[in-house]
């Protein structure tokens, strides 16, 4: 096997508990194979699923037979019968090869009816099904992974691990150390079958030791939703413990992924063997040098560079390369016809208007040539290095793994730095002949695992030339109108606190370590689609990936009240009717988003934002339970019939009644209050104060009758009152004189001169777009700048119509 080839067996749990995330498992696994098809074509992959009930009758007769094998001479057969267990021993000449040879310790296994090799050979391992034997990756592998079977029984991950190891060992034997890998995806919900002898832990120890001896690595991904409860009384805990043993005793890594999004990111889909960028001394001083190795910790996985394709070759030409060559020619500026040969060129560097020619040889003679070294400049307080000065991708310094003393020295320094809140400043020249030095900061990375040594992270810092010291005004110097008041500040505090991606007791959402790159995900999915249908359109982002680019509706709805409060206090309310069209125009829609027209039935999944956006597209004809206030506002602003206003008010009244009547210890009061406030506002706008006032009186009476006085008190405490005369006064046209520049449009300035504007909050005309005619009006009152939206009339060949619609947004 070639040097850089990997053999991987995917062990996928497909038992019923996994069904809800199998789609993501399919995606991440096929992505992994896809990347192998591109970047490491000769890697080999096998696929094992477990948790399937295989109907294959092959060894059904052996049901109940368990096999144990002990070192040396004899085999022990155990017959498990209903009601009792019997043993019988046998001599070595057993006809069937009873147990995987790689396990050196006695172990008990049950035999069942699957068709994996171990079962056919020795029996046992029921519900473990080899979907694909280990072989070089091909398109069938991708396809097999995209249609995983849905299992019906619980799966035993230990069985699966043993089957996977058996496959690897049979195929490669002790060769390919470190290039053999198992990848286990399971929720570890189902109990592991108890071995006949010893405990599960002993069994795991045996397997782990064997893994280590055979040089097999394992990645375990445990995708467990946050709502998961340990149903089987400690089974999960026990399983987690067993997995923990693996990560301690062998080269295994266990990661837990709560959300489907983090599952996509949890599996490393591209294998990059780490290469050191420096091996040598970390010089604390000339007398004290610590041997270290430096690796890249982060390095961007770039979008693949695609080759340019030429379709000029005739279609009959079978040997056409379709490549495009790039040709550079250097021509004299003065005589464009003369081509200067490459050897006659010389590099010139600009110095002001001058260009200074310097040949490479000259340049090499005078340029800065530092010696390869990594030297300490000193330690400093962590507060002296601000986070935003980190310049590049990050490196990691580990002590030379073979040098115990160096490990100790790094450990001592790292721990001391952490304790003292210090960082180290280094000057690094990674390679001999490197033309510059790097100054950076070393921060401690103290390990909490016994088998990982302490290390440092290294970040490059800017030089004096790299920092631009622009001056910005102090926030305290801004006028009061731009400063938040106390209430607003509190709302902001709440937002920052409650709109929380890292709640205690839950997985931190969007952790960089578990967040896949949506662009790459999409590219590889599209690539796969295109390989089948060359004209396939770009697939939309699915909901799992959308959680990376858009706020998670679930989190948003959890803190909806906080967001609404924030929104209310900062008075940036846009008119719902206009919002849609404005939005549509303002930002070009992200491709593949299905924000509109998505008739998603699952109201819990769809966040409030999307909900409103969907509905505000127009026709809401009744007030729903989820967002009554928004529905009400939308209905009030419908203009296709004057009846909507009355209907909206009527519906809203009923809704409020329902809420008050059905409340259980005041739990709906807050919502009812919001509705009431909204109704009040609507009635003022629509010149229907009587309707509101009558309703409020009625409600009051109703509460007294039904002994719901606490609601009345609640209202009073929130200051909800009848609509007063002054509030209900008709508002007339507010005209004003306005000279208005609206920026550069094409080349000409659009200038709207004295203009008459109508107050849109007028009844009957609410949200009517009124044309401002530049000809109307003169000598009108000035106008306090409000938030407004402005529309052109029709667009005629790029010019604005003489009229503009100005819409004031009511406060």
């Amino acid at each position: 096997m070639a040097r850089n080839k990997e053999a991987l067996v995917l062990l996928l749990d497909v038992s019923p508990s996994m069904h809800n995330i199998l789609q993501e498992v399919e995606k991440v696994c096929s992505m992994l194979v896809q990347k192998k098809l591109i970047y490491s074509k000769y890697d080999e992959v096998g696929v094992v699923v477990f948790g399937t009930e295989d109907s294959s009758p092959l060894l059904a007769s052996l049901w109940g037979l368990s096999v144990a094998w002990s070192v040396g001479i004899s085999f022990v057969f155990i017959c498990q019968l209903p009601g009792g267990v019997k043993f019988f021993a046998n001599e070595k000449k057993n006809p069937c090869h009873p147990f995987p040879e790689f396990l050196k310790h006695p172990l008990l296994l049950k035999i069942s009816d699957t068709n994996n090799e171990l079962t056919t050979e020795v029996g046992g391992y029921e519900h473990v099904n080899v979907l694909q034997q280990i072989r070089v990756v091909d398109k069938d592998t991708v396809e097999a992974l995209q249609q995983l079977p849905r299992g019906t029984v619980s799966g035993d991950f230990l069985d699966a691990i043993v089957v996977g190891m058996d496959m690897l060992i049979k195929k490669f034997g002790p060769t390919n150390k470190g290039k053999k890998r198992l990848c286990l995806v399971t929720k570890a919900h189902c109990p592991v079958k108890a071995p006949y002898e010893g405990t599960e832990e002993d069994q795991v120890n045996t397997i782990a030791a064997q893994m280590l001896a055979q040089g097999i690595k394992m990645d375990c991904i445990v995708p467990r939703g946050k709502q998961t409860v340990d149903e089987n009384g400690g089974v999960m805990e026990e399983n987690d413990h067993l997995l923990g043993v693996f990560s301690k005793k062998s080269s295994s890594k266990v990661v837990y992924a709560e959300s489907p999004t983090s599952l996509l990111g949890a599996l490393r889909t591209r294998r990059i063997s780490p290469v050191t960028i420096y091996r040598g001394d970390l010089e604390i001083s000339s007398a004290l040098k610590i041997k270290v190795w430096v690796y890249k910790k982060t390095a961007e996985e770039k979008f693949p560079t695609l080759k340019k394709y030429s379709d000029k070759a005739p279609p009959t030409d079978k040997f056409a390369t379709h490549e495009i060559k790039v040709d550079y020619e250097y021509k004299s500026v003065e005589e464009p016809s003369r081509i200067v040969p490459p050897e006659q060129r010389i590099k010139g560097y600009r110095y002001g208007p001058q260009v200074v020619p310097i040949s490479s040889a000259e340049w090499d003679a005078v340029k800065f040539k530092p010696e390869k070294s990594v030297k300490l400049l000193g330690f400093t307080d962590v507060s002296n290095i601000m986070r935003h000065y980190y310049m590049k991708d990050v490196s990691i310094f580990i002590a030379d793994p073979g040098n115990k003393k160096a490990i100790l020295a790094v450990s001592a320094l790292a721990r001391a730095m952490k304790e003292m809140k210090k960082v180290a400043i280094l000057r690094c020249v990674w390679r001999q002949g490197q033309g510059n030095v790097v100054v950076g900061v070393l921060t401690p990375n103290v390990s909490d695992k016994d088998n990982t040594p302490d290390s440092f992270y290294f970040n490059v810092l800017p030089f004096a030339e790299d920092v631009r010291e622009f001056q910005f005004p102090s926030f305290s110097n801004f006028p009061m109108s731009r400063q938040p008041n106390e209430e607003q500040q509190e709302a902001a505090d709440n937002l920052v606190k409650m709109f929380d991606l890292a709640p205690t007791g839950r997985e931190e959402a969007l952790q960089p370590d578990f967040t896949p790159n949506p662009v790459l995900e999409r590219f590889y999915r599209h690539l796969e689609l295109k390989s089948k249908h060359p004209d396939a359109p770009v697939p939309p982002l699915d909901d799992t990936l959308k959680k990376i680019t858009q706020p998670d509706p679930e989190i948003l709805s959890e803190c909806k009240s906080v967001v609404d409060e924030f929104r209310r206090l900062f008075e940036l309310k846009e008119n719902p009717k206009l919002k849609k069209s404005a939005k549509r125009l303002l930002r070009d829609k992200p491709s593949g988003s299905d924000e509109e027209g998505e008739g998603s039935g699952n109201a819990n999944d769809v966040g409030a934002v999307k909900y409103i956006e969907n509905k505000s597209a127009g026709n809401i004809d009744k007030i729903g339970d989820l967002t009554p206030v928004q529905d009400f506002e939308v209905m009030m602003s419908r203009r296709d019939s004057p009846e909507w206003v009355n209907k909206a008010i009527k519906d809203m009244k009923n809704k409020i009644f329902d809420m008050v009547e059905n409340s259980c210890e005041g739990d709906t009061y807050q919502k009812a209050l919001e509705c009431l406030v909204s109704l009040r506002k609507g009635c003022i706008l629509e010149q229907e104060p009587k309707q509101f006032n009558d309703f409020l009186r009625h409600l009051y009476k109703f509460c007294q009758e039904k002994d719901l006085n606490n609601f009345c008190e609640f209202l009073a405490s929130k200051g909800v009152s009848l609509i007063t005369k002054t509030e209900a006064v008709d508002r007339k046209i507010v005209g004003f004189h306005w000279c208005f520049y609206c920026g550069n449009m094409g080349n000409s300035l659009v200038n709207i001169l004295p203009t008459k504007v109508y107050d849109m909050t007028l009844p009957t005309k609410v949200y009517d777009m009124t044309v401002m005619n530049p000809m109307i009006a003169s000598g009108l009152r000035s106008f306090e700048l409000k938030q407004f939206l402005m529309f052109g009339g029709q667009m005629n060949n790029g010019d604005l119509d003489p009229g503009l619609n100005l819409l004031l947004i009511p406060k």
């Binding site: 040709d327 200074v356 580990i398 001391a416 622009f470 001056q471 607003q488 790159n517 593949g592």
Partner: protein
């Protein structure tokens, strides 16, 4: 073939660096440095460590410094240097007491040249002789040097339209009351005309900035005259310069900062939730400065060359004009993508910032970094966004921004957002930064820093094969390390205290070549460790103790390796090869072979014996190997 890296990437639509690092602005900047040359500028100011510095020196050295940076970074910007209150006069308007400093082959307002920088470096010596200092506003004469200076500066800046150029006058003076020496109607009249002149200039789109020089005992009183000239009112004026009692060094620092005009990179909309959005400007406060771009020249004539790139079909040789399709080979097939499809794939979100939530600062790890950060500040202009035929104004951005900024600082949290740029959509962390002010002015501006976060594919895991328990430092060792750390402490370290030695070297070489200087200048490498400091007994003792505690006595690096048996397979092999080579090498009479030209009859394997035995590189073709051997033999 060596190619100009700039050229290769120029049109590469999916090259990320391009958009990110290149921020060439459409507009250029025109600056007139207006320096007061009155005798008052020459009076000594601070006596510090016996070093006498004049305000004139401060002003001139600031300008010299800024010219040197400018010629590298923004060489298209134009400058003029103009002294007023001078004995001699030199200006197009032939006005008294104004001297426009210039060198040959250069307009008065033009791009800086090497010659200008060189001559200006010695201005302090030549000033008295050639220009001379003389107070221009005296009672009795009707001359108004300040008025003249503004007039000349304004006339210099007449060039270029206000749309494409950013015009500024930077005025250096230590005289807070220029008309203090005269009285009565004349004073009123002169004040009025000067103010009018300044106002005219400002109306033409020229901004006037004052860089007042004051001394500890005598504060520059801006309200006497200059607040009117600059149009400052109320609070602005009082805040303009809280300079009292400062060291000259700080002043220099501040002046240097003022010389950089801030430029925004772009404007983004930060949408929070439910349709609340703010308008923000982004600024690049930290970006690696690269040596200037390479221009290819004809080595015979030194005339610049133009590069032409053409795409040719490898099969037919036909020239390809239209944007080509891209292919990815996959499953033994070429899968084609159109350019539109590729940009569609990348458009996972719009070019705006979307808030996704908040996290405590502890979640932002040291390795969550990929590129230099970008600074965000609320857009304070109340501008109407004009998009298609829709006008939308977003007010209150600043207010929301300040509120969030305060909350984030107070609660120690940062925001996670998605930045949907067309080429590089990415998760970002927005970290609030409080304003930090020291005596020399603002050190850290208030705002948010946008830190680009890696995706899971960008983070690497380093597996060490070590599975045994790894050793951990014990308390004593940690204590020794702590003691060492206390000894080697950089108290006032600031991230930008070192200048880049490679870059400085580059500039120095260029300058020397441009000015035909014979000697290559020596540039001090500021990043070299402080050997002297490390040799102090306290430090040496701490080092020794730490070393003793960790490594023990008589530690031998090689022995450690041998006893551990950890010498890797590869290095053992290498050693064996080297030994073998030395042995084999003696079988040949190299000198004789070389003399008779027989080296070429040997195989490369044989040639490599010699090279390995003598520690020479073994790479390259056979001829290269032979040449290397010959060179080593000295033949």
């Amino acid at each position: 073939m060596e190619l100009d890296p700039d050229d290769i990437f120029r049109d590469e639509d999916d090259d990320p660096e391009n958009e990110f690092y290149q921020e060439r602005e459409a507009s250029k900047e025109m600056v007139v440095y207006l320096v007061d040359g009155s005798p008052k500028m020459f009076s000594a100011t601070a006596l510090q460590e016996n070093q006498e510095e004049t305000h004139f020196h401060v002003a001139v050295s600031c300008i010299a410094q800024s010219l040197k940076t400018q010629i590298i970074n923004r060489s298209y910007d134009e400058v003029a240097i103009c002294f007023f209150n001078t004995r001699e006069k030199k200006n197009l308007q032939d006005l008294n007491c104004v001297y426009v400093f210039n060198v040959a082959e250069r307009d008065d307002l033009d791009r800086p040249t090497a010659r200008l920088i060189k001559d200006f470096d010695c201005i302090e010596e030549s000033f008295t002789k050639e220009i001379g200092s003389q107070c221009g506003i005296l009672s009795g004469s009707r001359d108004n040097s300040l008025y003249n200076a503004l007039w000349v500066a304004q006339a210099l800046l007449r060039k270029g339209s206000a749309k494409t150029a950013d015009k500024r006058i930077l005025l250096f003076t230590n005289e807070d009351d220029p008309f203090g020496s005269i009285k009565g109607v004349v004073k009123i009249d002169m004040t009025r005309t000067t103010l009018q002149r300044a106002k005219d200039a400002q109306d033409l789109g020229i901004s006037i900035e004052l860089l007042p020089l004051s001394r500890p005992d005598e504060e520059f009183n801006i309200s006497l005259f200059y607040s009117d000239l600059l149009g400052l009112e109320g609070d602005d004026a009082s805040q303009f310069l809280p300079l009292a009692g400062e060291r000259l060094e700080d002043m220099k620092d501040q002046l240097r900062k003022c010389m950089l005009k801030k430029r925004k990179v772009r404007r983004v909309t930060f949408s929070i939730a439910n349709g609340i959005s703010l308008e923000l400007n982004t600024y690049a406060l930290v970006r690696p400065t690269l040596p200037g771009t390479i221009t290819w020249l004809d080595s015979v004539t030194n005339v610049p060359l133009q590069s032409e790139r053409s795409f040719l079909c490898a099969d037919t040789g036909a020239l390809i004009q239209e944007p080509a399709k891209r292919v990815q080979s996959y499953k033994n097939e070429d899968i084609k993508f159109s350019v539109e499809e590729l940009s569609e794939i990348k458009r996972v979100s719009t070019g705006h910032l979307r808030l996704l939530g908040f996290k405590p600062l502890s979640c932002l790890k040291d390795y969550h970094n990929l590129r230099p950060s970008t600074f965000l500040f609320p857009s304070d202009e109340v501008v109407l966004l004009l998009l298609a035929f829709l006008l939308l104004e977003v007010v209150g951005s600043t207010c929301i921004f300040i509120a969030l900024h305060r909350s984030m600082l107070r609660l120690n949290r940062y925001a996670v957002a998605f930045y949907g740029s067309a080429t590089h959509p990415q998760l970002v962390a927005l970290v609030a930064q409080d304003e930090m002010v020291t005596a020399s002015g603002q050190v850290e501006p208030p705002g948010m820093h946008m830190i680009y976060l890696p995706y899971s594919d960008d983070i690497r895991h380093i597996h060490t094969d070590e599975n045994n328990e790894t050793p951990r430092a014990n308390d004593d060792q940690i204590r020794k390390a702590t003691a060492l750390m206390r000894r080697v402490d950089l108290k006032d370290f600031s991230v930008c205290q070192f200048s880049n030695p490679a870059l400085q070297r580059h500039y120095a070489v260029l300058q020397a070549l441009a000015l035909d200087e014979d000697e290559m200048p020596e540039v001090k490498d500021e990043t070299a460790p402080d050997e002297e400091g490390m040799a102090r007994t306290g430090v040496v003792n701490a080092l020794e103790e730490f070393k003793l505690s960790v490594y023990g006595e008589n530690y031998d690096e090689d022995k450690e390796f041998e006893t551990n048996g950890k010498v890797s397979e590869a290095s053992r092999k290498r050693k064996a090869i080297a030994e073998n080579a030395v042995k084999e090498c003696t079988n040949y009479d190299w000198s004789d072979l070389a003399d008779n030209g027989k080296l070429k009859d040997l195989t490369t394997v044989e040639l490599k014996y010699y090279l390995t035995a003598h520690g020479l590189p073994v790479a390259g073709r056979k001829e290269a190997l032979i040449n290397r051997i010959l060179a080593h033999l000295g033949k």
